[in-house]
């Protein structure tokens, strides 16, 4: 379902929706939004249950950490306002504070995942170039770097190995291999740009894959944030 939405429209819809989530303080809205995000992921052909489970574990851990913080280290002023607002909150406002904070984070993460895992990288960049007026140079630089990710990772390992064979220890966050990588990236950027420009790369490049904005994309872009506003009104 969400796979077919134009990536720029999806970005705007989910971005505005996430900002609106920032002004949402009801756990019911948060839970519903997390479920909507989960539904987006379940109906997507670009993600599997295994992949989803791998991402859900750290999300649940962070969500739990927010629950404990909200529960054990709550703001007294916030509890007071919650107790005045709701009857249930008056019974155990600290617990409700924890639930609200943790579900808020869960909702952010589920909406985030429903974007990351259901959007094709190439389509996203093409759409940003065509619909959001991203400079062609920037778009292709991103795609280039993305395609070189595994190579860069290998180079980084080689840089560390080169130090280790000289009996120089490499600790996590060590700057020595990072320095080597920076020099390499300067060289790579120079050579890659020369190679691309010598092959005729320019801002006037035509693109075979045309990304279109259809009525359903507009409906999602406007409708999703409106749905959050509606849920906010419903639960407030």
């Amino acid at each position: 379902m969400i796979d077919a939405i134009n990536p720029t429209a999806k970005t705007i819809g989910l971005l505005v929706g996430s900002i609106l989530l920032g002004v949402t303080f009801q756990w019911q809205t948060n839970v519903l939004l997390a479920l909507i995000g989960f539904l987006f992921l379940l109906t997507s052909n670009r993600t599997s249950l295994n992949q989803l489970a791998r991402f859900l574990l750290p999300i649940l851990l962070i969500s739990a950490s927010y629950f404990f913080t909200g529960w054990l280290f709550h703001s007294e002023e916030n509890l007071l306002s919650m107790a005045v607002d709701t009857m249930t909150a008056a019974e155990n406002p600290a617990l409700l504070n924890g639930v609200t904070l943790s579900t808020r984070l869960l909702a952010f993460a589920m909406l985030g995942l429903s974007f990351s895992l259901t959007t094709d990288s190439n389509e996203l960049v093409y759409s940003f170039i065509q619909q959001a007026k991203m400079p062609m140079k920037m778009g292709y630089a991103i795609l280039t770097a993305l395609n070189l990710t595994s190579l860069i990772s290998q180079e980084y390992k080689k840089s560390k190995l080169a130090l280790q064979v000289r009996n120089l220890p490499v600790r996590p966050f060590d700057t020595k291999p990072l320095f080597t990588m920076m020099v390499r990236m300067v060289r790579w950027s120079d050579r890659l740009s020369l190679a691309m420009e010598s092959k005729g790369f320019s801002e006037q490049r035509t693109m075979k894959q045309q990304m279109k904005v259809r009525p359903q994309d507009i409906v999602f872009m406007i409708g999703f944030p409106l749905a959050i506003v509606g849920l906010n009104l419903l639960f407030s």
């Binding site: 970005t11 971005l15 920032g22 904070l101 993460a109 985030g112 140079k137 990710t149 120079d190």
Partner: protein, 194 residues
């Protein structure tokens, strides 16, 4: 101020450096998640990522130092976020907005010097401004108003210390070494490399 347009080489350098830092970011995420999990039973899990927060501003400082053109810091952070999202970052689209805010925080002090000064004073100021701007943003996102003020103060202080170390000191040190190796003269021939 260098008002020349960003070239393909500039964009490629920003993107490639973002990927290199992606390795560091991943390390920070693993370390942060582990620390968060350990601190969760005590209600201090929200502090888990804070000691590593400065790592997220490093790429912007380094590219701003190397390329020396306006908005490089912001663009680097946005590119890094886009690459993270494409690789499956769990916070998805909101990361792009966070990245814009982080880049803005880093870039502000450089903009005030018209991109002419790259001293420790400026990088340390960039660390402070990035901390303040991101603190306001994460405060909105994570609703700090619902938390005890002491936890919120701890978040700010730890993030500030992390930024001062990773962003203000370590990034500047790497940049100075790159300068000593002649990288700056190579990238900006004829430019003022102060």
């Amino acid at each position: 101020m260098n008002r020349e347009k960003l070239t393909l080489r500039d964009y490629l350098l920003m993107a490639l450096i973002s990927v290199v830092f992606g390795v560091f970011y991943l390390l920070a995420v693993y370390a942060g998640t582990a620390l968060s999990t350990l601190l969760t039973p005590f209600g201090l899990g929200v502090l888990g990522y804070e000691p590593f927060y400065g790592v997220w501003f490093m790429a912007a400082i380094i590219t701003t130092y190397l390329i020396r053109k306006p908005v490089v810091g912001i663009i680097t952070e946005v590119i890094a976020a886009l690459i993270e999202v494409m690789l499956g970052n769990m916070f998805g689209v909101i990361v792009m907005l966070s990245a814009f805010i982080q880049g803005l925080g880093v870039e502000l002090p450089f903009a005030f010097t018209k991109y002419e000064k790259y001293s420790y004073k400026v990088t340390m100021t960039a660390a402070v401004s990035a901390t303040v701007v991101t603190f306001l943003w994460t405060g909105f996102r994570s609703n700090y108003l619902a938390m005890d003020w002491r936890i919120v103060a701890a978040i700010f202080v730890i993030r500030l210390l992390s930024s001062l170390f990773f962003t203000g000191y370590l990034s500047k040190r790497i940049c100075d070494k790159l300068d000593e190796a002649g990288i700056l003269t190579y990238l900006n021939p004829g430019g003022a490399n102060e």
